[in-house]
Protein backbone atom coordinates (compact mmCIF):
# COMPACT_ATOMS: atom_id res chain seq x y z
CA UNK A 1 0.00 0.00 0.00
CA UNK A 2 2.62 2.46 1.14
CA UNK A 3 5.17 1.27 -1.42
CA UNK A 4 2.75 1.56 -4.32
CA UNK A 5 1.74 5.03 -3.18
CA UNK A 6 5.38 6.11 -3.06
CA UNK A 7 5.94 4.64 -6.51
CA UNK A 8 2.96 6.57 -7.83
CA UNK A 9 4.27 9.76 -6.28
CA UNK A 10 7.71 9.30 -7.81
CA UNK A 11 6.20 8.54 -11.19
CA UNK A 12 3.99 11.61 -11.12
CA UNK A 13 6.91 13.77 -10.06
CA UNK A 14 8.98 12.42 -12.93
CA UNK A 15 6.19 13.06 -15.41
CA UNK A 16 5.67 16.54 -14.02
CA UNK A 17 9.34 17.41 -14.13
CA UNK A 18 9.46 16.48 -17.78
CA UNK A 19 6.11 17.68 -18.87
CA UNK A 20 5.99 21.19 -17.49
CA UNK A 21 8.83 22.70 -19.51
CA UNK A 22 7.90 20.66 -22.54
CA UNK A 23 4.33 21.76 -22.36
CA UNK A 24 5.41 25.34 -21.98
CA UNK A 25 7.61 25.01 -25.03
CA UNK A 26 4.84 23.43 -26.97
CA UNK A 27 2.34 26.05 -26.04
CA UNK A 28 4.43 29.03 -26.86
CA UNK A 29 5.45 27.79 -30.26
CA UNK A 30 9.20 28.23 -30.24
CA UNK A 31 10.72 29.74 -33.29
CA UNK A 32 12.17 27.07 -35.57
CA UNK A 33 15.83 26.47 -34.91
CA UNK A 34 17.97 27.93 -37.64
CA UNK A 35 21.22 26.00 -38.21
CA UNK A 36 24.33 27.94 -37.36
CA UNK A 37 22.67 30.32 -34.99
CA UNK A 38 22.22 29.90 -31.22
CA UNK A 39 19.11 27.91 -30.39
CA UNK A 40 16.08 30.15 -29.85
CA UNK A 41 15.13 30.76 -26.28
CA UNK A 42 11.76 29.95 -24.93
CA UNK A 43 10.40 31.67 -21.85
CA UNK A 44 9.09 28.98 -19.55
CA UNK A 45 9.03 31.20 -16.50
CA UNK A 46 6.71 34.07 -17.35
CA UNK A 47 3.77 31.88 -18.42
CA UNK A 48 4.16 29.90 -15.26
CA UNK A 49 4.07 32.79 -12.82
CA UNK A 50 1.58 35.03 -14.62
CA UNK A 51 -2.14 34.60 -14.94
CA UNK A 52 -3.69 33.49 -18.22
CA UNK A 53 -6.84 32.16 -19.76
CA UNK A 54 -5.16 28.82 -20.39
CA UNK A 55 -5.45 26.00 -17.93
CA UNK A 56 -2.88 23.23 -17.91
CA UNK A 57 -4.36 19.77 -17.55
CA UNK A 58 -2.84 16.28 -17.57
CA UNK A 59 -2.85 14.41 -20.85
CA UNK A 60 -2.36 10.75 -21.71
CA UNK A 61 -0.12 11.51 -24.68
CA UNK A 62 3.26 13.19 -24.77
CA UNK A 63 4.05 15.81 -23.60
CA UNK A 64 1.49 14.57 -21.02
CA UNK A 65 0.02 18.02 -20.59
CA UNK A 66 -2.20 20.15 -22.72
CA UNK A 67 -3.62 23.60 -22.42
CA UNK A 68 -7.32 24.17 -22.18
CA UNK A 69 -8.70 27.57 -22.98
CA UNK A 70 -11.18 28.75 -20.39
CA UNK A 71 -12.01 31.86 -22.38
CA UNK A 72 -12.84 32.30 -26.05
CA UNK A 73 -10.39 30.42 -28.23
CA UNK A 74 -9.22 32.81 -30.94
CA UNK A 75 -6.61 30.66 -32.62
CA UNK A 76 -4.60 27.62 -31.61
CA UNK A 77 -2.44 29.45 -29.10
CA UNK A 78 -4.53 32.48 -28.39
CA UNK A 79 -7.28 32.66 -25.86
CA UNK A 80 -9.30 35.75 -25.02
CA UNK A 81 -11.41 36.77 -22.07
CA UNK A 82 -14.65 34.86 -21.85
CA UNK A 83 -16.78 37.90 -21.09
CA UNK A 84 -16.59 41.53 -22.06
CA UNK A 85 -15.31 43.75 -19.26
CA UNK A 86 -18.12 45.26 -17.21
CA UNK A 87 -18.22 48.75 -15.79
CA UNK A 88 -19.11 48.90 -12.09
CA UNK A 89 -19.24 52.35 -10.51
CA UNK A 90 -16.90 53.80 -13.09
CA UNK A 91 -14.34 50.99 -12.79
CA UNK A 92 -13.89 48.62 -15.69
CA UNK A 93 -13.55 45.07 -14.41
CA UNK A 94 -12.90 41.96 -16.45
CA UNK A 95 -14.75 39.25 -14.59
CA UNK A 96 -13.70 36.43 -16.93
CA UNK A 97 -12.33 33.36 -15.15
CA UNK A 98 -8.59 32.91 -15.36
CA UNK A 99 -6.15 30.19 -14.40
CA UNK A 100 -5.64 31.64 -10.96
CA UNK A 101 -9.36 32.02 -10.33
CA UNK A 102 -9.85 28.36 -11.23
CA UNK A 103 -6.95 27.39 -8.97
CA UNK A 104 -8.41 29.43 -6.11
CA UNK A 105 -11.77 27.79 -6.60
CA UNK A 106 -10.06 24.40 -6.65
CA UNK A 107 -8.15 25.29 -3.50
CA UNK A 108 -11.35 26.42 -1.78
CA UNK A 109 -13.19 23.22 -2.74
CA UNK A 110 -10.23 21.07 -1.75
CA UNK A 111 -9.75 22.72 1.60
CA UNK A 112 -13.50 22.60 2.29
CA UNK A 113 -13.70 18.90 1.49
CA UNK A 114 -10.61 18.05 3.50
CA UNK A 115 -11.58 20.08 6.54
CA UNK A 116 -15.25 19.10 6.54
CA UNK A 117 -14.39 15.41 6.16
CA UNK A 118 -11.84 15.78 8.96
CA UNK A 119 -14.37 17.57 11.15
CA UNK A 120 -16.94 14.82 10.57
CA UNK A 121 -14.38 12.12 11.32
CA UNK A 122 -13.34 14.09 14.36
CA UNK A 123 -16.90 14.21 15.65
CA UNK A 124 -17.40 10.51 14.94
CA UNK A 125 -14.18 9.51 16.69
CA UNK A 126 -14.86 11.76 19.63
CA UNK A 127 -18.22 10.05 20.04
CA UNK A 128 -16.76 6.58 19.66
CA UNK A 129 -13.46 6.68 21.50
CA UNK A 130 -13.33 10.11 23.11
CA UNK A 131 -10.51 11.47 20.98
CA UNK A 132 -9.81 11.89 17.26
CA UNK A 133 -7.67 9.45 15.34
CA UNK A 134 -5.50 9.52 12.25
CA UNK A 135 -6.03 12.34 9.77
CA UNK A 136 -8.65 14.06 11.90
CA UNK A 137 -6.16 14.16 14.77
CA UNK A 138 -3.58 15.74 12.48
CA UNK A 139 -6.01 18.42 11.32
CA UNK A 140 -7.04 18.97 14.93
CA UNK A 141 -3.40 19.41 15.91
CA UNK A 142 -2.93 22.06 13.22
CA UNK A 143 -6.17 23.86 14.06
CA UNK A 144 -5.44 23.74 17.78
CA UNK A 145 -1.88 24.92 17.33
CA UNK A 146 -3.00 27.88 15.24
CA UNK A 147 -5.83 28.63 17.66
CA UNK A 148 -4.07 28.19 20.99
CA UNK A 149 -0.52 29.23 20.19
CA UNK A 150 -0.92 31.79 17.42
CA UNK A 151 -4.37 33.34 17.27
CA UNK A 152 -5.69 33.53 20.81
CA UNK A 153 -2.49 34.81 22.51
CA UNK A 154 -2.05 37.52 19.88
CA UNK A 155 -5.63 38.59 19.41
CA UNK A 156 -6.11 38.96 23.14
CA UNK A 157 -9.03 38.22 25.40
CA UNK A 158 -12.41 37.35 23.85
CA UNK A 159 -10.61 36.54 20.63
CA UNK A 160 -12.71 33.49 19.79
CA UNK A 161 -14.72 35.41 17.21
CA UNK A 162 -11.63 35.91 15.06
CA UNK A 163 -10.59 32.25 15.09
CA UNK A 164 -12.69 31.08 12.10
CA UNK A 165 -11.57 34.03 9.94
CA UNK A 166 -7.89 33.55 10.71
CA UNK A 167 -8.06 29.77 10.38
CA UNK A 168 -9.79 30.13 7.01
CA UNK A 169 -7.08 32.55 5.94
CA UNK A 170 -4.39 30.10 7.01
CA UNK A 171 -5.83 27.02 5.33
CA UNK A 172 -6.81 28.88 2.17
CA UNK A 173 -3.37 30.43 1.69
CA UNK A 174 -1.67 27.14 2.57
CA UNK A 175 -3.72 25.18 0.05
CA UNK A 176 -3.23 27.80 -2.67
CA UNK A 177 0.52 27.80 -1.98
CA UNK A 178 0.71 24.01 -2.12
CA UNK A 179 -1.33 23.84 -5.32
CA UNK A 180 1.41 25.87 -6.97
CA UNK A 181 3.88 23.09 -6.17
CA UNK A 182 1.99 20.15 -7.63
CA UNK A 183 2.18 19.27 -11.30
CA UNK A 184 -0.25 21.20 -13.54
CA UNK A 185 -0.90 23.58 -10.69
CA UNK A 186 -0.57 27.33 -10.59
CA UNK A 187 0.11 29.56 -7.63
CA UNK A 188 -2.88 31.80 -7.09
CA UNK A 189 -1.07 33.38 -4.14
CA UNK A 190 1.67 34.43 -6.57
CA UNK A 191 -0.82 36.84 -8.09
CA UNK A 192 -0.73 40.32 -6.60
CA UNK A 193 -4.51 40.68 -7.11
CA UNK A 194 -5.14 37.68 -4.88
CA UNK A 195 -2.73 38.66 -2.13
CA UNK A 196 -3.89 42.28 -2.25
CA UNK A 197 -7.50 41.21 -1.84
CA UNK A 198 -6.62 38.96 1.08
CA UNK A 199 -4.65 41.83 2.62
CA UNK A 200 -7.55 44.26 2.11
CA UNK A 201 -9.94 41.79 3.76
CA UNK A 202 -7.49 41.52 6.65
CA UNK A 203 -7.21 45.31 6.79
CA UNK A 204 -11.00 45.67 7.01
CA UNK A 205 -11.22 43.01 9.70
CA UNK A 206 -8.46 44.74 11.68
CA UNK A 207 -10.11 48.17 11.45
CA UNK A 208 -13.58 46.85 12.30
CA UNK A 209 -12.08 44.96 15.25
CA UNK A 210 -10.51 48.25 16.40
CA UNK A 211 -13.80 50.12 16.08
CA UNK A 212 -15.69 47.47 17.98
CA UNK A 213 -13.10 47.17 20.72
CA UNK A 214 -12.46 50.88 21.25
CA UNK A 215 -15.55 52.74 20.12
CA UNK A 216 -14.67 56.42 19.83
CA UNK A 217 -11.14 55.63 20.99
CA UNK A 218 -10.61 54.11 17.55
CA UNK A 219 -10.20 57.66 16.21
CA UNK A 220 -6.99 57.95 18.21
CA UNK A 221 -5.47 55.24 16.03
CA UNK A 222 -5.97 57.55 13.02
CA UNK A 223 -5.59 61.05 14.44
CA UNK A 224 -2.72 61.83 16.76
CA UNK A 225 -4.19 63.99 19.53
CA UNK A 226 -1.95 63.76 22.55
CA UNK A 227 -3.66 65.47 25.49
CA UNK A 228 -0.47 65.35 27.53
CA UNK A 229 1.15 67.93 25.27
CA UNK A 230 0.47 71.67 25.62
CA UNK A 231 -1.87 73.02 22.96
CA UNK A 232 0.80 74.88 20.97
CA UNK A 233 2.65 71.56 20.57
CA UNK A 234 -0.41 69.44 20.15
CA UNK A 235 -1.56 71.00 16.90
CA UNK A 236 1.74 70.71 15.01
CA UNK A 237 2.17 67.18 16.32
CA UNK A 238 -1.35 66.41 15.13
CA UNK A 239 -0.54 67.74 11.68
CA UNK A 240 2.71 65.79 11.46
CA UNK A 241 1.78 62.53 13.15
CA UNK A 242 -1.68 61.94 11.74
CA UNK A 243 -0.44 61.22 8.20
CA UNK A 244 2.21 58.96 9.74
CA UNK A 245 -0.46 57.06 11.63
CA UNK A 246 -2.54 56.68 8.46
CA UNK A 247 0.44 55.55 6.40
CA UNK A 248 1.34 53.10 9.17
CA UNK A 249 -2.17 51.67 8.98
CA UNK A 250 -1.92 51.16 5.22
CA UNK A 251 1.62 49.82 5.28
CA UNK A 252 0.67 46.71 7.21
CA UNK A 253 -1.73 45.20 4.64
CA UNK A 254 0.56 46.40 1.85
CA UNK A 255 3.44 44.48 3.42
CA UNK A 256 1.21 41.43 3.86
CA UNK A 257 0.23 41.46 0.18
CA UNK A 258 3.77 42.03 -1.13
CA UNK A 259 5.34 39.48 1.23
CA UNK A 260 3.11 36.62 0.18
CA UNK A 261 3.18 37.53 -3.51
CA UNK A 262 6.95 38.00 -3.64
CA UNK A 263 7.74 34.84 -1.73
CA UNK A 264 5.56 32.70 -3.95
CA UNK A 265 6.70 34.30 -7.21
CA UNK A 266 10.39 34.31 -6.31
CA UNK A 267 10.43 30.68 -5.28
CA UNK A 268 8.80 29.60 -8.52
CA UNK A 269 11.18 31.70 -10.60
CA UNK A 270 14.14 30.06 -8.90
CA UNK A 271 12.75 26.54 -9.33
CA UNK A 272 11.91 27.17 -12.98
CA UNK A 273 15.28 28.76 -13.68
CA UNK A 274 17.01 25.69 -12.26
CA UNK A 275 14.77 23.36 -14.27
CA UNK A 276 15.60 25.46 -17.30
CA UNK A 277 19.30 25.02 -16.55
CA UNK A 278 18.87 21.22 -16.55
CA UNK A 279 17.73 21.37 -20.16
CA UNK A 280 20.20 24.06 -21.10
CA UNK A 281 23.17 22.01 -19.95
CA UNK A 282 21.64 18.80 -21.31
CA UNK A 283 24.52 16.70 -20.09
CA UNK A 284 26.06 15.13 -17.01
CA UNK A 285 26.51 18.57 -15.52
CA UNK A 286 22.72 18.85 -15.38
CA UNK A 287 22.92 16.86 -12.16
CA UNK A 288 23.93 20.02 -10.32
CA UNK A 289 20.90 22.15 -11.26
CA UNK A 290 18.74 19.07 -10.83
CA UNK A 291 19.84 18.61 -7.23
CA UNK A 292 19.51 22.33 -6.62
CA UNK A 293 16.01 22.30 -8.08
CA UNK A 294 15.07 19.44 -5.74
CA UNK A 295 16.50 21.33 -2.78
CA UNK A 296 14.72 24.57 -3.68
CA UNK A 297 11.50 22.61 -4.23
CA UNK A 298 11.77 21.28 -0.67
CA UNK A 299 12.45 24.80 0.54
CA UNK A 300 9.35 25.93 -1.35
CA UNK A 301 7.33 23.28 0.43
CA UNK A 302 8.48 24.76 3.71
CA UNK A 303 7.88 28.31 2.48
CA UNK A 304 4.32 27.39 1.50
CA UNK A 305 3.60 26.56 5.13
CA UNK A 306 5.70 29.41 6.47
CA UNK A 307 4.03 32.13 4.44
CA UNK A 308 0.54 30.93 5.31
CA UNK A 309 1.62 30.87 8.95
CA UNK A 310 3.20 34.33 8.78
CA UNK A 311 0.17 35.87 7.10
CA UNK A 312 -2.09 34.46 9.83
CA UNK A 313 0.31 35.36 12.62
CA UNK A 314 0.67 38.97 11.44
CA UNK A 315 -3.07 39.33 10.93
CA UNK A 316 -3.57 38.11 14.53
CA UNK A 317 -0.90 40.52 15.77
CA UNK A 318 -2.50 43.46 13.94
CA UNK A 319 -5.93 42.62 15.34
CA UNK A 320 -4.46 42.29 18.82
CA UNK A 321 -2.57 45.57 18.50
CA UNK A 322 -5.54 47.63 17.47
CA UNK A 323 -7.81 46.05 20.05
CA UNK A 324 -5.60 47.14 22.91
CA UNK A 325 -4.15 50.30 21.39
CA UNK A 326 -3.59 53.28 23.68
CA UNK A 327 -6.81 55.16 24.46
Amino acid sequence: MSASRTLLLVASLLVAGVSVPMAAQDAHAPVEAVPGEPAPHTDIITPHITDSYFLEVPSLFPPFAKEVCIGRLVSEHECEALWKPVRIAGVVIDLSPTKHVVMMLFAAVLVSVVLIVAAQAHKRHTHAVGHPKGFAAGIEAMVLYMRNEVILPNVGHHGNGFVPFLLTMFFFILTANLLGLVPFGATATGNIAVTATLAIITFLVVEVAGMRAQGMGYLSTIFYWNTELPLYMRIPMFLIMSPVEMIGKLTKPFALAIRLFANMTAGHIVVLALIGLIFTFAGPISTAPFLMAVAIMMLELFVAFLQAFIFTLLASVFIGQIREAHH
Partner: protein, 193 residues
Amino acid sequence: MRPLLRSSLLVLAMPSLAAAAEGGGKVDLLSPNGGVMFWTLLIFILLLVVLSRFAFKPLIAAVEARENALEAALASAKRDREEAAKLLAEQLANLEAARAEAQRFIAEGRATSEKLKLSMLEETKAAQQELLDRARRDIDGEKSRAIAELRREAVDLALAGAGKLIERNLDDAGNRKLVEDFLASIPATGAKK
Protein backbone atom coordinates in the same frame (compact mmCIF):
# COMPACT_ATOMS: atom_id res chain seq x y z
CA MET B 1 31.74 25.56 -23.04
CA ARG B 2 28.91 26.31 -25.37
CA PRO B 3 26.11 25.13 -23.05
CA LEU B 4 27.67 27.00 -20.18
CA LEU B 5 27.85 30.23 -22.17
CA ARG B 6 24.31 29.71 -23.37
CA SER B 7 22.97 29.17 -19.88
CA SER B 8 24.76 32.17 -18.41
CA LEU B 9 23.38 34.29 -21.21
CA LEU B 10 19.95 32.88 -20.47
CA VAL B 11 20.17 33.73 -16.80
CA LEU B 12 21.52 37.21 -17.40
CA ALA B 13 19.06 38.06 -20.08
CA MET B 14 16.10 36.52 -18.33
CA PRO B 15 13.91 39.61 -17.97
CA SER B 16 14.43 40.86 -21.49
CA LEU B 17 14.02 37.38 -22.89
CA ALA B 18 10.85 36.96 -20.96
CA ALA B 19 9.59 40.19 -22.42
CA ALA B 20 10.62 39.12 -25.87
CA ALA B 21 8.86 35.79 -25.60
CA GLU B 22 5.60 37.51 -24.85
CA GLY B 23 5.79 39.18 -28.21
CA GLY B 24 7.38 42.35 -26.94
CA GLY B 25 4.78 42.83 -24.21
CA LYS B 26 5.97 43.82 -20.76
CA VAL B 27 5.65 41.27 -17.97
CA ASP B 28 3.53 43.14 -15.53
CA LEU B 29 3.41 41.38 -12.20
CA LEU B 30 2.48 44.25 -9.95
CA SER B 31 -0.77 45.59 -11.36
CA PRO B 32 -3.69 43.75 -9.85
CA ASN B 33 -6.49 42.51 -12.05
CA GLY B 34 -9.88 43.73 -10.79
CA GLY B 35 -11.67 40.60 -11.93
CA VAL B 36 -9.32 38.32 -10.04
CA MET B 37 -9.71 40.54 -6.98
CA PHE B 38 -13.47 40.23 -7.21
CA TRP B 39 -13.26 36.45 -7.51
CA THR B 40 -10.80 36.26 -4.64
CA LEU B 41 -13.16 38.22 -2.44
CA LEU B 42 -16.13 36.06 -3.42
CA ILE B 43 -14.27 32.77 -3.03
CA PHE B 44 -12.75 33.78 0.28
CA ILE B 45 -16.04 34.92 1.79
CA LEU B 46 -17.81 31.76 0.61
CA LEU B 47 -14.96 29.66 1.99
CA LEU B 48 -15.10 31.55 5.27
CA VAL B 49 -18.83 30.90 5.60
CA VAL B 50 -18.56 27.23 4.62
CA LEU B 51 -15.53 26.47 6.77
CA SER B 52 -16.67 28.27 9.89
CA ARG B 53 -20.11 26.66 9.62
CA PHE B 54 -19.19 23.09 8.73
CA ALA B 55 -15.56 22.60 9.69
CA PHE B 56 -14.31 24.86 12.46
CA LYS B 57 -17.53 25.07 14.44
CA PRO B 58 -17.93 21.32 15.02
CA LEU B 59 -14.20 20.84 15.37
CA ILE B 60 -13.74 23.56 17.95
CA ALA B 61 -16.95 22.60 19.70
CA ALA B 62 -15.71 19.03 20.05
CA VAL B 63 -12.33 20.20 21.25
CA GLU B 64 -13.89 22.57 23.73
CA ALA B 65 -16.23 19.86 24.97
CA ARG B 66 -13.22 17.63 25.50
CA GLU B 67 -11.32 20.42 27.24
CA ASN B 68 -14.29 21.07 29.50
CA ALA B 69 -14.68 17.38 30.26
CA LEU B 70 -11.01 17.16 31.12
CA GLU B 71 -11.22 20.21 33.30
CA ALA B 72 -14.30 18.87 35.05
CA ALA B 73 -12.58 15.54 35.59
CA LEU B 74 -9.55 17.28 37.01
CA ALA B 75 -11.69 19.43 39.28
CA SER B 76 -13.70 16.47 40.52
CA ALA B 77 -10.53 14.47 41.10
CA LYS B 78 -9.15 17.34 43.11
CA ARG B 79 -12.39 17.62 45.06
CA ASP B 80 -12.40 13.89 45.70
CA ARG B 81 -8.83 13.98 46.88
CA GLU B 82 -9.54 16.85 49.23
CA GLU B 83 -12.59 15.06 50.53
CA ALA B 84 -10.58 11.89 51.06
CA ALA B 85 -7.90 13.83 52.90
CA LYS B 86 -10.54 15.44 55.08
CA LEU B 87 -12.13 12.07 55.78
CA LEU B 88 -8.78 10.57 56.59
CA ALA B 89 -8.00 13.38 59.03
CA GLU B 90 -11.40 12.92 60.59
CA GLN B 91 -10.85 9.20 60.84
CA LEU B 92 -7.46 9.71 62.44
CA ALA B 93 -8.92 12.13 64.94
CA ASN B 94 -11.68 9.65 65.73
CA LEU B 95 -9.15 6.91 66.19
CA GLU B 96 -7.09 9.08 68.48
CA ALA B 97 -10.16 9.98 70.50
CA ALA B 98 -11.17 6.34 70.73
CA ARG B 99 -7.73 5.37 71.88
CA ALA B 100 -7.71 8.09 74.51
CA GLU B 101 -11.12 6.96 75.69
CA ALA B 102 -10.00 3.37 75.88
CA GLN B 103 -6.98 4.46 77.84
CA ARG B 104 -9.21 6.39 80.15
CA PHE B 105 -11.51 3.41 80.56
CA ILE B 106 -8.60 1.17 81.39
CA ALA B 107 -7.25 3.62 83.92
CA GLU B 108 -10.68 4.08 85.40
CA GLY B 109 -11.20 0.34 85.60
CA ARG B 110 -7.87 -0.11 87.24
CA ALA B 111 -8.65 2.57 89.80
CA THR B 112 -12.06 1.13 90.42
CA SER B 113 -10.73 -2.36 90.86
CA GLU B 114 -8.09 -1.06 93.21
CA LYS B 115 -10.70 0.70 95.24
CA LEU B 116 -12.92 -2.34 95.15
CA LYS B 117 -10.09 -4.55 96.24
CA LEU B 118 -9.28 -2.26 99.11
CA SER B 119 -12.85 -1.97 100.23
CA MET B 120 -13.41 -5.69 99.89
CA LEU B 121 -10.29 -6.34 101.91
CA GLU B 122 -11.50 -3.90 104.50
CA GLU B 123 -14.87 -5.51 104.56
CA THR B 124 -13.42 -8.97 104.86
CA LYS B 125 -11.18 -7.86 107.64
CA ALA B 126 -14.12 -6.28 109.43
CA ALA B 127 -16.23 -9.36 108.94
CA GLN B 128 -13.44 -11.55 110.17
CA GLN B 129 -12.99 -9.29 113.15
CA GLU B 130 -16.67 -9.40 113.84
CA LEU B 131 -16.72 -13.18 113.50
CA LEU B 132 -13.77 -13.37 115.81
CA ASP B 133 -15.44 -11.05 118.27
CA ARG B 134 -18.62 -13.00 118.16
CA ALA B 135 -16.75 -16.26 118.65
CA ARG B 136 -14.93 -14.72 121.57
CA ARG B 137 -18.18 -13.42 122.99
CA ASP B 138 -19.78 -16.78 122.49
CA ILE B 139 -16.83 -18.48 124.09
CA ASP B 140 -16.98 -16.04 127.03
CA GLY B 141 -20.70 -16.54 127.41
CA GLU B 142 -20.34 -20.28 127.20
CA LYS B 143 -17.50 -20.13 129.67
CA SER B 144 -19.38 -18.05 132.21
CA ARG B 145 -22.43 -20.22 131.67
CA ALA B 146 -20.24 -23.33 132.15
CA ILE B 147 -18.69 -21.78 135.24
CA ALA B 148 -22.11 -20.94 136.57
CA GLU B 149 -23.25 -24.42 135.72
CA LEU B 150 -20.12 -25.84 137.31
CA ARG B 151 -20.71 -23.72 140.31
CA ARG B 152 -24.31 -24.84 140.55
CA GLU B 153 -23.16 -28.39 140.10
CA ALA B 154 -20.50 -27.84 142.68
CA VAL B 155 -23.12 -26.37 144.97
CA ASP B 156 -25.33 -29.34 144.24
CA LEU B 157 -22.43 -31.71 144.81
CA ALA B 158 -21.46 -29.82 147.88
CA LEU B 159 -25.03 -29.87 148.92
CA ALA B 160 -25.23 -33.58 148.27
CA GLY B 161 -21.96 -34.01 150.19
CA ALA B 162 -23.28 -31.78 152.82
CA GLY B 163 -26.54 -33.72 152.86
CA LYS B 164 -24.57 -36.88 153.54
CA LEU B 165 -22.70 -35.07 156.19
CA ILE B 166 -25.86 -33.68 157.56
CA GLU B 167 -27.40 -37.10 157.57
CA ARG B 168 -24.58 -38.12 159.82
CA ASN B 169 -24.43 -35.14 162.14
CA LEU B 170 -27.59 -33.25 161.56
CA ASP B 171 -26.86 -30.62 164.03
CA ASP B 172 -23.39 -30.22 163.21
CA ALA B 173 -23.69 -26.58 162.33
CA GLY B 174 -19.99 -26.27 162.75
CA ASN B 175 -19.49 -28.56 159.71
CA ARG B 176 -21.94 -26.74 157.48
CA LYS B 177 -20.16 -23.51 158.16
CA LEU B 178 -16.92 -25.16 157.17
CA VAL B 179 -18.28 -26.08 153.73
CA GLU B 180 -19.74 -22.67 153.15
CA ASP B 181 -16.44 -21.06 153.94
CA PHE B 182 -14.65 -23.38 151.57
CA LEU B 183 -16.95 -22.52 148.73
CA ALA B 184 -16.56 -18.82 149.33
CA SER B 185 -12.81 -19.23 149.25
CA ILE B 186 -12.89 -20.42 145.59
CA PRO B 187 -12.28 -17.43 143.33
CA ALA B 188 -15.28 -16.65 141.12
CA THR B 189 -13.61 -16.81 137.66
CA GLY B 190 -16.90 -16.85 135.79
CA ALA B 191 -17.93 -13.55 137.29
CA LYS B 192 -15.08 -11.68 135.68
CA LYS B 193 -17.27 -9.61 133.36
